[in-house]
């Protein structure tokens, strides 16, 4: 089609002649070009020719009257608008389909509500940055056929993206086997961090299911490393009017990228900020301290292990309910800190009608309970929490930690096994709990993945 001719027709916006039609649509069958009587009206909207209305009476060669032409021109404008609207709708659907591959339906709808959201430019935002990467991908890629690699990646991404979109994460980068996912931008929600954490845990589960299928097909399982960081970043649409990419720039991005590099397969590494913000909701452990590249400062990194059951929050006083008159003490797990805690217990016990032997027994039991916490809790905060309650005729001491917990039944079975399997032989280690039970009048130990508490009671005579 001759663009110049079309532009001229659009500008003139008049009924078309047969010659115009020949030039516009030479591919039309002769039957249509040679209709005995016809009125041709261009369908023009928004300075575009979207079609031609052709009205014809095949057997009578009477020209259309002036009022009829006027009516047809009006109809043509309405038809053009309808066609244009339909085209826009189809285009929007297509944009949404592409858009939703990168963000969840919810985020996509929010972004599309206002053009402001898609303009070039940046703003500072608090975000959570997640990087994921497949381990051994390069080797696997080399070992298998390219088509197999593409299928593998498609299966992997299909599973992962379902999870990411379910939690309203936004994929901002996808390169080979790696993903960068954002929470808090472009749209922020109140629970961005919790959703990011839940996403990676669900991704881990989804990958486990995918691996079950892969192994059933005798394929090598996939292994994913994850890095999570949070903080203030510069976020915005960067690019040109032709191509825009939503990007975030800042230290949290670099740190999350560093963490994913360090992470082993199956490991979810998190920054110190993330740890401090979610330690009451997720099970985590200290991994090591790293030095940031180009910066003279060190940061602690932690491993996210799982989601704590929502039944009890160990950080709230619910595990050991707060009582009136309670004395609480929290101490770091420093070497020999148990001696100080033991002395504190002695000081409190001195207010009760207890003899020196009983007070010494309390001191030793407290020391043992603290040592258990230090040696076995694996707590990320490296703290021991002591709660002492003075009642009329009893002293109650609770030593608790927010570590990974221990299997108490397994612990007792283990001791019993050692006694029966090594009869007559001295068992040198693992006497802490037994010692506590012999020193105190009542001992209860409770433990879950949220931590361990030993409640010890000494009765006055």
């Amino acid at each position: 089609m001759d663009k110049t001719r079309v532009a001229a027709l659009v500008k003139e916006n008049r009924p078309l002649t047969r010659t115009d039609l020949y030039h516009l649509a030479p591919e039309l069958p002769d039957q249509l070009h040679n209709l005995p009587s016809c009125f041709l009206v261009p369908l023009i909207v928004a300075h575009q020719l979207v079609g031609v209305l052709c009205v014809s009476e095949r057997f009578k060669q009477f020209p259309y009257a002036g009022y009829e032409c006027s009516l047809l021109m009006t109809m043509a404008r309405q038809i053009a608008i309808a066609i244009y609207n339909h085209q826009l709708l189809e285009e929007t659907k297509s944009i949404r389909t592409i858009f939703k591959r990168y963000v969840s339906d919810h985020v996509a709808e929010m972004l599309l509500q206002s053009e402001e959201n898609l303009r070039l430019g940046g703003t500072y935002k608090e975000v959570v940055v997640v990087f994921t990467d497949l381990r051994n991908f390069t080797r696997m890629q080399e070992d298998q056929h390219p088509e197999e690699t593409v299928t593998m990646l498609n299966e992997y991404y299909e599973e992962m993206m379902q999870v990411i979109h379910r939690h309203n994460g936004t994929i901002t980068r996808m390169s080979g086997d790696g993903l960068m996912i954002l929470y808090g931008a472009p749209i922020s929600f109140e629970d961005d961090l919790a959703r990011a954490m839940q996403t990676v845990l669900d991704m881990r589960d989804a990958l486990a299911s995918l691996n079950d299928h892969r192994q059933a097909e005798r394929k090598e399982p996939l292994s994913m490393g994850v890095g999570i960081s949070m903080g203030r970043v510069l976020a915005g649409n960067v690019g040109s009017t032709q191509r825009v990419e939503y990007t975030v720039i800042g230290e949290p991005v670099n740190l999350a990228a560093r963490l994913v590099d360090i992470a082993n397969g199956g490991q979810i590494l998190i920054s110190e900020d993330v740890f401090h913000n979610v330690r009451d909701r997720f099970s985590m452990g200290y991994v090591r301290t790293i030095e940031l590249k180009g910066q003279a400062r060190q940061v602690n990194i932690y491993e996210l292990k799982g989601h704590l059951p929502g039944d009890i929050d160990t950080r709230s006083p619910d595990l050991i309910p707060t009582k009136e008159g309670e004395i609480t003490l929290t101490v770091p797990m420093w070497p020999s800190i148990e001696l100080m805690v033991g002395q504190a217990a002695v000081a409190v016990a001195g207010h009760l009608n207890l003899d020196d032997m009983q007070i010494e027994e309390i001191r030793l039991a407290v020391i043992e309970a603290c040592i258990n916490a230090v040696e076995h809790s694996e707590s990320a905060d490296r703290k021991i929490h002591i709660i002492v309650q003075l009642l009329e005729d009893i002293l109650e001491v609770v030593i608790q930690d927010f570590g990974e917990g221990v299997d108490i039944d397994q612990l007792r079975d283990h001791m019993a096994d050692r006694k029966t399997s090594h009869p007559g032989k001295l068992i040198k280690r693992g006497w802490g709990l037994t010692l506590i039970e012999s020193l105190m009048d009542q001992v209860e130990m409770t433990s879950s993945v949220k931590g361990t508490a030993i409640r010890m009671v000494k009765k006055t005579k």
Binding site: S336, L339, I367, E368, I371, G432
Partner: protein, 77 residues
């Protein structure tokens, strides 16, 4: 914090091990090490003077047991 100090006074057939401080994991290891060295020197027995060690925990006790076991163990081939 409370680091255990160990001093040894040797007599003809035995030695006295003086401890000063908290007998915990590292403290117990120090005592056990001193005992092992005395046994290797051919010392027939030792006395532990714990006068200056008011605190001992179960891990410390386990090291003392280990030291006693080492002393009473029959000599190898």
């Amino acid at each position: 914090m409370d680091v255990l100090r160990v001093a040894v006074k040797k007599a003809d057939r035995y030695a006295i091990i003086y401890t000063d401080g908290y007998i915990n994991n590292p403290g117990g290891e120090k005592i056990a090490q001193a005992c092992r060295e005395l046994v290797e020197e051919g010392m027939g027995g030792f006395i532990l003077n714990l006068d200056k060690s008011p605190s001992i925990n179960s891990v410390g006790i386990s090291f003392l047991i280990e030291a006693i076991e080492h002393m009473t163990r029959p000599a190898g081939p």
